[in-house]
Symmetry: C2
Subunit: 122 residues, 2 copies
């Protein structure tokens, strides 16, 4: 995992988003263990408090739950919740992308065309 951060957006939100992605993609399995606050802080090179704040975001939406003591945090194993997460994130990303392209003057058909012809490493 890379753990580089953009400037201009709070790190705790970026961390929350990345973990959300890992959950949505299944990179962290349903019911699986989330790395500890201190581990993530170490990996990401940030203060534990910052990580905790990120994880509090995920708990607020019931995506993870804490088990104190030697437990750590665990991803929800609710299939509906996880499916909804993935669906919502994909849908949001797509809607945002289309909106952005529209602002740039690309109507949907043009955006689709652009995406089709898109090649990495121009």
């Amino acid at each position: 995992m890379s753990w580089k951060f953009d400037d201009g957006t709070p790190i705790y939100l970026q961390i929350a988003e990345r973990i959300r992605e890992q959950i949505a993609s299944g990179e962290i399995s349903p019911g699986g263990k989330v790395p500890t606050v201190r581990e993530i802080a170490e990996l990401a090179g940030v203060n534990p408090n910052t990580v905790q704040r990120a994880l509090a975001e995920l708990e607020a939406s019931a995506l993870v739950a804490a088990e104190r003591g030697n437990g750590g945090r665990f991803v929800s194993d609710n299939p509906d919740l996880l499916a909804k997460l993935k669906h919502d994130m994909a849908r949001t990303a797509t809607g945002d992308f289309l909106a952005k392209m529209r602002k740039l003057g690309f109507e949907k058909a043009k955006t689709v065309g652009y995406l089709n012809e898109y090649k990495e490493e121009s």
Copy 2:
């Protein structure tokens, strides 16, 4: 224009990005006049200093230039620069979108398919 802002990202960056979009799309014509600092501040409901900071970003990339006095600010009329702006913004948006979808578990082909079937207002 709506002028709502996301939390978590500095407003001055969001303002700069929106004006960049307006320039890239031609909503503000090449060589055209950019609203004044005080006008934008009024419309967006923010402090003039915040707007100035945003516009300083655009000047740093030569997209706009200031004419003091009764002038105001004007968009560059350099066709190459404007074409490059639009190209770069579209490319960045597309690359970011693909990266995001990939993190969610959608390879490019799936992303293209998803976009094709995407309907607003689900």
